[in-house]
């Protein structure tokens, strides 16, 4: 495996490429990172990746473009919108099989790189210089339906409600695709301006990973972008606000959902200790929550904790009987309080460490994990290898874990309460 990285500060670009015959695919992607501001702006930006990737100047018809991708052995152009910390990330990726598997001898990778460049820099426009109206309306409707789909999945919905309550008033509290109203109010002019702004000012993280990957696309980006002022994408860590924010919603569901958000007052240097603390609490089948809340008390099927590093918060989620909502909340707090008191066994710590090292060591085995890993490093302003993290994790002491647990403060409790139908 051959990993390469470069940063071109004067054009706001970081690029990573890695070539290995281990993968039978190759993927080229660009993540455009912008600070979240308002639901209105979030909606406009969220529309951009979908609209510009549905057809190109070369293949202006949606179906013809789809056929072209099918011809390239089922290649795909993948738009995406995510939130990391206080930022919105617009992703455009083109992925397909690596050239050695193209039995017709086509240069799939070159074709995909050209396609991605065309989508990013010279998207299809009508005679007024706007993105075509049919595509705009299609994507506006589909983005509204994405909101509906998120409501349909109750675990996702409950998690989002907790996160948005916890981060209210902060950029991270802005929904990553905006609100229904903001999406409805979006205009073609607004989306075009959003695209122009993103290309001019977003921080760009670019990846080429797969068999035969190289830096050609990254070099092409440097030329395309030129010198530019890219926005600052720092994320402010969340701090507890004092009173616990409590939101309870009733819905005719069979199983109630509980999501608890904790502010972790650790320093950036202690981020791995905070992460390890959350894994000891509820990150594996040998964690305290799994062993006690699920296995001993049979309260739930899942009860898990995860650490959101950029915001430095921990989220604990579970699905339980409505009558057990309060009891589960207490049971979760009891496990955390035990940790604060230092009631953690050596095995609990070792097993959590080994589980984390296992996932770090497996990063290089998956192209998607590699991209997620190094993107996270780029966003934090410093790249580490997974192996470096594995080494650091093994050196964290029990005192450091207890100290991280001591600074965990309950911040928000969201309950989706099942009501009899």
């Amino acid at each position: 495996m051959n990993n390469h990285f470069f940063e071109q500060k004067d054009c706001g670009l970081q690029a990573f490429w890695s070539s290995t015959p281990q993968f039978k695919t190759a993927r080229v992607s660009a993540h455009l990172v912008l600070p979240l501001t308002t639901p209105e702006n979030a909606a406009l930006y969220a529309l951009v990746p979908n609209i510009i990737s549905r057809a190109t100047r070369e293949y202006p018809d949606y179906t013809q473009f789809g056929k072209r991708l099918a011809e390239l052995y089922g290649a795909s152009v993948q738009p995406g919108v995510t939130r990391v910390g206080d930022n919105q990330i617009l992703t455009l990726a083109a992925a397909g099989i690596a050239n050695p598997y193209a039995f017709g001898g086509e240069d799939v990778q070159q074709a995909l790189s050209e396609m991605l460049e065309s989508i990013l820099f010279t998207p299809l426009c009508d005679e007024n210089g706007l993105f075509p109206e049919d595509g705009f309306l299609q994507e506006q409707r589909q983005l509204l339906e994405t909101l509906d789909a998120e409501y349909n999945d109750k675990a996702t919905y409950a998690m989002q409600r907790c996160v948005q309550t916890m981060f209210a008033g902060e950029p991270a509290g802005v929904p990553r695709i905006g609100t229904r109203e903001a999406i409805l109010n979006a205009t073609r002019e607004g989306v075009k301006a959003a695209w122009e702004y993103a290309v001019k000012h977003a921080q760009i993280c670019q990846f080429t990973i797969g068999d035969g990957a190289d830096d050609r696309f990254a070099q092409q980006l440097v030329k395309r972008l030129g010198m530019r002022d890219a926005v600052s994408i720092e994320t402010k860590r969340h701090t507890a606000s004092g009173d616990v924010k409590r939101v309870t919603e009733e819905m005719p569901v069979v199983q109630s959902k509980l999501v608890m958000g904790f502010a972790i007052g650790t320093t950036p240097e202690e981020r791995l200790a905070a992460k390890l603390m959350s894994v000891v609490l509820g990150g594996t089948p040998s964690s305290k929550l799994f062993m006690n809340v699920r296995e001993k008390q049979s309260l739930c099927y899942y009860c898990a904790a995860r650490h959101d590093t950029p915001k430095n918060v921990m989220l604990v989620q579970s699905g339980v009987e409505t009558k057990d909502l309060d009891r589960t909340e207490e049971a979760i707090l009891k496990e955390l309080n035990d940790m604060k008191k230092g009631n953690i066994t050596d095995d609990e710590i070792l097993f959590a460490k080994l589980a984390m090292c296992n996932s770090y060591n497996a990063v290089a085995d998956s192209a998607a994990s590699m991209e997620t890993w190094y993107l996270s490093g780029m966003l934090q302003g410093k790249l580490h290898t997974p192996e470096e993290y594995a080494e650091c994790i093994m050196n964290i002491t029990k005192d450091e874990i207890v100290s991280a647990a001591e600074r965990a403060t309950l911040d928000t409790v969201y309950k989706l309460k099942g009501a009899a139908k």
Binding site: P21, F103, R141, E145, M251, V253, P285, S286, Y301
Partner: protein, 432 residues
């Protein structure tokens, strides 16, 4: 190596890959698929025993036996426990990540790790061969699985899927929830669990696939050490006869969802034999031509605002004694989508497909399958699924280059029967 082993190398020049298939002396079929550059090892140990196996007959007994719905899944949960702790704890000690799942037709136990692969494999082979069920441990599991069942009760996709299966199947147990119901699992006893274990966890009914960072010698040496020879008992799956009709054309339900959702099925007449690699590939090409992003039907539905790209999906859903084409998604007007699918079926039946469409879809599906060969978990599970259905993975992927319009058109004529379509629709609570 033991003397009785049958040993085959399966290779593909096109896919630049190869794996070993060994029939071990114990009765187990073992697949070893090394990936030299990988740090991870992934292993899956599975049995041909799933939720549809409620009624079975052993070759060494006279009578068939009936067991409660959800027992295969219950057994999967309980097998992790032994007298002196659970397998999760043993995996945790060596940093391996473990899981298990039960489907309609199989139960599988798996792990992935980047260190201590031999120990992890030893744990896997050991705990799956060491059942330990008591009244107490069975009772404890009722609460956990009860919550798992209730979690799925709130999953509109899951609900809709089983409503559709009940609308299509009269008797086949495919229509029962994999985990059973809160009532059916209450009937489960340690005796039932032992009985099912001893019947279906016979190594002749099982397979192991190890993929990634592994060698043939290591895997086979561990098999020699760990596997207990099984008596050659065969299990017959017993099903009531499934009529060649649907139960009802439409089922509707209301749930707390924000938009209506639909699932549409075309039931296939099923014969006894498993479908071949080519049967599968031809049907997938047909589905791709009919419903992929670049199909005329999808374009029409999209332009009419009736479906969205994120949720519209289709699959060939097939197994022992059942088979159906399934289409699903979110839609403001589910009936209109179902009508459009029926219209497209009628058009294809009338006009057939073109050679260029077959070639393009086959190329696209070949690419999708090649991409899957990146991941040891995808590979190992695909090898297992193919094996349990008497198929072979590379043969299946290579098949896509052989498919002709004639193959697809023949399939259309046997499969597209308007009297065998059914729809399941979920609507929001407040919809009139």
């Amino acid at each position: 190596m033991s003397a009785e082993m049958k040993n085959t190398l399966v290779e593909s020049k096109l896919l630049r890959d190869g794996y070993r298939c060994v029939k071990h002396a114990s009765g187990l079929t073992v697949f070893i698929y090394p990936k030299a550059e990988m740090r991870s090892t992934y292993a899956v140990f599975g049995t041909r025993y799933g939720s549809i196996d409620k009624v079975f007959k052993r070759s060494d007994e006279d009578k068939a036996e009936t067991t409660p719905a959800g027992i295969a899944h219950f057994l999967e949960h309980k097998l992790f426990e032994s007298e002196d702790g659970d397998a999760f704890g043993r995996y945790a000690e060596i940093g391996a990540s473990a899981n298990a799942y039960t489907s309609f037709e199989t139960t599988r136990y798996l792990f992935s790790c980047t260190e201590n692969a031999e120990q992890a494999l030893e744990i896997l082979l050991d705990f799956v061969q060491s059942p330990y069920f008591t009244k107490q441990t069975v009772e404890k599991e009722l609460g956990i699985i009860g919550q798992e069942i209730k979690m799925y009760d709130d999953d509109p996709q899951w609900r809709m899927m089983f409503s559709l299966l009940r609308a299509m199947y009269h008797t086949h147990p495919i229509k029962d929830d994999i985990a059973g119901t809160v009532e059916s699992i209450a009937e489960i006893t340690p005796e039932y669990l032992y009985r099912c274990y001893n019947t279906f966890y016979n190594l002749n009914n099982m397979a192991l696939c190890v993929c990634g960072n592994c060698t043939e010698e290591e895997v086979l040496a561990l098999c020699d050490k760990m596997l207990k020879k099984s008596e050659p008992v065969e299990v017959e799956r017993v099903f009531e006869e499934e009529p060649d009709t649907i139960v009802q054309p439409l089922v509707e339900e209301k749930l707390p969802v924000a938009c209506p959702m639909f699932q549409f099925g075309v039931k296939e007449a099923v014969t006894g034999a498993h479908r071949t690699e080519k049967d599968l590939a031809v049907t997938e090409v047909l589905l791709d031509i009919m419903a992929s992003d670049s199909s005329p039907m999808f374009r029409k539905l999209l332009d009419a605002g009736l479906v969205n790209e994120a949720s519209f999906s289709y699959e060939y859903f097939e197994g022992t004694g059942y088979g159906a084409l399934l289409f699903g998604g979110e839609s403001g007007n589910p009936e209109a989508v179902c009508d459009a699918i029926r219209e497209e079926m009628a058009r294809l039946k009338r006009e057939g497909v073109k050679e260029e469409d077959v070639r393009r879809s086959a190329k696209s599906l070949y690419g999708a399958n090649v991409s899957g060969l990146n991941s040891p978990d995808v590979i190992a599970n695909a090898v297992m699924t193919m094996h349990f259905n008497d198929r072979e993975l590379f043969r299946y992927i290579e098949c896509f280059s052989e498919i002709t319009a004639e193959d697809v058109n023949a399939r259309i004529q046997t499969l597209f029967d308007m009297d065998k379509t059914a729809a399941s629709i979920i609507r929001p609570l407040d919809e009139a």
